[in-house]
Symmetry: C2
Subunit: 215 residues, 2 copies
DNA sequence: CCGAATCCGCAGTGATACTG
DNA sequence: CAGTATCACTGCGGATTCGG
């Protein structure tokens, strides 16, 4: 609980005091994809001990980055969600992830692609000028992966799981390799995807998620 | 030495495996301000144990982020410097620092402002369009702080310590509070600065280091 | 002096078990 | 479902020592 400080009046040092501990930024990544419950986070972060997740969530809540919510009616229990201050972390997380993407190399044995990573990559590669004025919803499916992208008047919302509204186009992939967003884009370009809905939105999808350098 | 992995094929996770351990990003921040030796890093990071610094530098070198150099003739010994791959970390470091700046609040007792932080903040606030075609060198001095900014045909190089060439303008501050870049800018705007050199370059300085939201 | 290696005590982490 | 409790372990902080 006692966050070890760095003793420096420096933005970077302060950021690292708040989100620099082990697992913390991965929790932030997952919560940036939408609110979720304790066990959802556990599932998305295999290897994290429950006490560490518990501690991290308390620290993040104490810092005002995350807030606990009582889940709305149909479900029940506790939801963790980013605050506005936490949402402000997104550019930093994405920029770091873009650098990390350039260092990824081949997947190591046993590594998997979290759905929240795909959602984050979509946000990183989104071309807001190409999407100006657009409104549409996609749902992407692959083995062990469902994510959605919702563009409302040019503004993007992305998350894992099924789309919160009926998607305009459902894209179903059966990739040979890991379902990275890059692999999905390649498959889509090659026509290796099953479409369900407004098929013309495939081209739109490929246009607004044009990886600059970030895929 | 055995970097604990996260088991995820994700850019963010990989980035954190490479530079996510305690102290590592602060070392990167300091090296982004220019090559320096082991003891320079120790001085700039009070509290870091020597064995930890040693270990981090080895890890960073093994990852190809940092390289050891034999110091050029006048000095001697070992210099640590960023590789090209390491330089690519700068946008990520800066973006994280910008968020951290918004969380800084008042300085805590005993906190100080590292010179490399000021250099980084200058890079974060630099307005490259406002500096187009410009060439000039500044040196900023305050108690316990010397940094420089070198603009060559619109391109910025910043670092701590005296300017590598004779500066066109030397700005000497005597701030009451901590010498953050924001405080220096305020002092400069208020005329609370002693100038030595081409005085007109003060206005130029204030124009190209216009903090958007990053100060 | 520079650039570490070594040793020790402890806090943070990982794994498992258990509870409201 | 949402955590807490326990305990072994490893990485970190602090100090000292050591070779170029």
């Amino acid at each position: 609980m006692t966050n070890r400080d760095f003793g420096q009046y420096c933005g970077l040092a302060r950021a690292l005091e708040l989100v620099g501990e082990r697992w913390t930024m991965l929790i932030v990544r997952d919560l940036l994809a939408g609110p979720r419950r304790f066990t959802d986070l556990l599932d998305g972060l295999p290897g994290i001990p429950t006490n560490v997740l518990s501690t991290r969530l308390k620290e993040l809540e104490a810092s005002g980055i995350v807030e606990r919510q009582v889940a709305p009616s149909p479900q029940r229990g506790v939801l963790y969600a980013m605050t506005e201050m936490g949402e402000a972390l997104q550019p930093a997380i994405i920029t770091l992830a873009v650098w990390g993407n350039s260092q990824l190399g081949e997947p190591r044995p046993g590594e998997f692609v979290p759905a929240t990573t795909v959602a984050m990559t979509m946000r990183a590669t989104f071309d807001s000028t190409a999407a100006e004025g657009l409104t549409a919803t996609w749902e992407l499916r692959a083995p062990d992966l469902i994510v959605h992208a919702q563009v409302i008047d040019g503004a993007l919302r992305t998350g894992d799981g099924p789309a919160p509204v009926k998607p305009d186009l459902v894209m179903t992939f059966k990739p040979d390799d890991l379902p990275t967003f890059r692999a999905l884009i390649q498959a889509a370009k090659g026509g290796l995807v099953e479409l369900e809905g407004r098929q013309r939105l495939l081209a739109t999808f490929l246009r607004i998620f044009a990886p600059k350098q970030a895929a």
